[in-house]
């Protein structure tokens, strides 16, 4: 009996020590749920050395992964980086804390279009710090087209049968709607959704494959399966260039969608100090150029981008061209229309 008590006491002591150890670690860490290129060693390592904040990253494959992971609860993540069409649901579901603006000294340098975006502002408070942006342009194999395509109508050209791909996403509805002439792509009525559905079903025999991941689209081009598709601006084209596949991105006459990713602070994070250290790093020179160099996306903070980019890169990423940014149809949360969009897209895929 005495022995047992001794064993229990020492076990308790061990547990107490372990508890202290985790507490000590917790003082200097930040756990982020993000896209793969957003926690690259090239800028994370220097950050960890400079601040003593240990960064642990978990990666998502799509914007749909954020809500289920946060809904499961458990204080696993401190920071998330969803795109601007997915932020509002997280904020209204109560998963996110508002940002303390006094701890973000360079917030005002960020593009106004982003700072005023409806998706990160709620009840007069700011819930997200913009980080990166880009377009959803179209891309084609330059060796397969005599005249460069300029209009989305080419996606319905029977001559390209079996060589067309579209992103397996509600984005296909945005594309079809613009072709029909419905430019209110984030606010389509039921009739307009039906029209987009009919247009996409008409296109199905020409489609080789709806692409689901970035890597899949690269494979489709590399294997000669696909000659034209939409793409994540700057990303897949760079990967294809490495493989010497001649591709060119273009913004169609009918316009293109734009996206923007922000950092959102998960409600009740115990690692506030490191969280703000991280956001400040990410949205200034170190993180902005780090992100642009790794992913080929544009920076949300043009002041920081100007300081750390070469003139060519600054131009290539359209950082000097506010008109370009304004021309993009920035993704918007579809609120209760989301399920109608998704079901319309599912109906297209279900049709024979």
């Amino acid at each position: 009996m005495k022995n047992l008590r001794k064993v229990l006491q020492s076990a308790g002591a061990v547990l107490a020590v372990m508890g202290m150890a985790t507490a000590a670690q917790a003082a200097g860490e930040v756990n982020i749920l993000t896209w793969e290129g957003y926690a690259d060693d090239s800028f994370i390592k220097p950050f960890e050395e400079a601040t003593g904040c240990k960064v642990s990253a978990t990666y998502v494959g799509s914007n749909d992964d954020f809500a289920p992971k946060l809904a499961a609860g458990g204080g696993v993540y401190d920071l998330v980086s969803p795109s601007i069409d997915s932020t509002k649901a997280l904020i209204e579901a109560g998963f996110i804390d508002p940002a303390d603006m006094s701890r973000l000294p360079r917030y005002e340098e960020i593009y106004e279009k982003f700072r005023t975006a409806e998706g990160i502002n709620h009840d007069g408070k700011v819930y997200g710090v913009p980080f990166s942006w880009g377009s959803i342009p179209f891309m084609y194999r330059t060796d397969k087209f005599e005249t460069p395509p300029t209009s989305l109508n080419i996606l319905w050209d029977p001559a390209l049968e079996g060589k067309i791909s579209l992103w397996d996403d509600k984005s296909a509805i945005y594309v079809a709607s613009r072709v029909i002439g419905n430019h209110n792509i984030y606010d389509l009525s039921d009739e307009e959704l039906e029209a987009a559905k009919a247009k996409l079903i008409e296109q199905k025999p020409l489609v080789r494959k709806y692409w689901a991941t970035a890597g899949e689209l690269v494979d489709l081009y590399a294997a000669g399966e696909v000659w034209i598709s939409n793409t994540w601006g700057g990303y897949q084209s760079a990967l294809l260039a490495e493989q010497n596949i001649p591709v060119q991105e273009f913004i169609p006459e009918e316009g293109a969608e734009g996206w923007m990713d922000s950092w959102l602070i998960v409600k009740g994070t115990p690692n506030e100090d490191c969280v703000y250290e991280f956001i400040n790093m990410a949205t200034t020179e170190e993180g902005q150029c780090g992100m642009s160099n790794v992913n080929g996306y544009s920076s949300a903070n043009p002041v920081a981008a100007k300081n750390c980019m070469s003139e060519e890169q600054f131009k290539a990423l359209h950082q000097d061209d506010v008109d370009y940014l304004d021309s993009l149809l920035l993704w918007t949360n579809l609120r209760d229309r989301l399920e109608h969009y998704t079901n319309t897209w599912n109906a297209v895929k279900a049709a024979n």
Binding site: S62, D64, D65, A67, P68, A71, K88, A89, L90, E92, A93, G162, D169, K170, K204, V207, R208, K209, Y210, A212, D219, A223, G224, E225, R335, D336, L338, E339, T342, N343, N346, A347, K349, A350, A351, N352
Partner: protein, 289 residues
């Protein structure tokens, strides 16, 4: 008295572990799913309710039965193809291969691919069937085709090929078991009575192996029914199956209630298949004693 109590306690303890497991990992999750299927989608997530809206949507919107029909069609095709490949192979293994060592090596060769990642094996078919894949390269090289064809990959054909390849072992295993159980004396008796090999097969071997055929068909049909990797990897624009739609309800649409209702319907379909096959197997069972 004390002895029986103790024995009862032991028995209860032995039974209760698997019971608890079934309860915690099967019944409670199904119950949660069942409950969710009556909830209502409401931005930003969903709200508890007791409504049949989700089931009504599934009945009234044609996309769901279109996808269910397509899934059933592919599942049946995969089962038939698996049967056509697995039966001759297993028959050969059991009746023609004389060396027991060789037989077990060949049997293992059929089973071993199951230990390789499903994803990897499905992916391999892309490199075989693709536009610049092995098959097309061969056909062009040998002069059968003048230029590569698109018809092998990204359609329902490539899905059936991939799924058949992946699920064939699930047909072979029960077939092997039931063919091996057939007493050789039955076949010899048939021969002694002057019946030819084809008629012997038709009237003796095949009926006696039916339990294996039914079990194999049940496995392949049910496994295909829930698959969403093949549509994702090798399916074309007409490749969406019911599991693809369920996945999108839990993900992209953030509509867990509708996803749950679809899952419940799929569960009912699969349970129906299993109970029908169970009955068929029982009806077809022949007492060999």
């Amino acid at each position: 008295m004390r002895e029986t109590t103790r024995r009862q306690l032991t028995a209860t303890a032995i039974v209760s572990a698997p019971l608890m497991w079934t309860l915690v990992f099967l019944f409670i999750p199904y119950l949660v799913m069942f409950t969710y299927s009556f909830y209502l989608k409401k931005f930003p997530t969903f709200v508890p309710a007791f409504e049949f809206v989700n089931y009504l949507t599934i009945i009234s919107d044609p996309q769901y039965y279109q996808v269910l029909l397509r899934t059933a069609k592919i599942a049946l095709t995969v089962a038939v193809c698996s049967f056509l490949i697995a039966y001759p192979l297993t028959y050969f293994l059991v009746f023609k291969v004389k060396s027991a060592r060789l037989r077990s090596i060949l049997y293992m060769a059929v089973i071993v691919p199951l230990w390789v990642s499903y994803l990897l094996r499905a992916y391999t078919w892309k490199t075989i069937l693709g536009n610049e894949g092995i098959l097309n390269s061969f056909l062009v090289w040998s002069g059968i085709l003048s230029q590569p064809t698109d018809i092998f990959l990204y359609n329902q054909f490539s899905m059936v090929v991939t799924l058949t390849y992946i699920f064939v072992p699930f047909m072979v295993m029960p077939l092997y078991a039931s063919l091996e159980k057939i007493p050789r004396s039955m076949i010899e008796a048939s021969k002694d009575l002057g019946v030819g090999p084809l008629r012997t097969f038709w009237h003796v071997t095949l009926p006696l192996s039916m339990p294996g055929v039914i079990a194999g068909a049940t496995f392949t049909i049910c496994l295909t029914f829930g698959d969403f990797v093949a549509p994702f990897l090798v399916g074309g624009p007409n490749g969406a199956m019911i599991a693809t739609i369920i996945q999108s309800q839990f993900g992209a649409a953030l509509n867990w209630p509708l996803g749950a209702a679809l899952s419940i319907i799929m569960l009912i379909i699969v349970l129906t298949i299993i109970s029908v096959s169970d009955r068929l197997e029982r009806a077809g069972r022949i007492d060999l004693n």
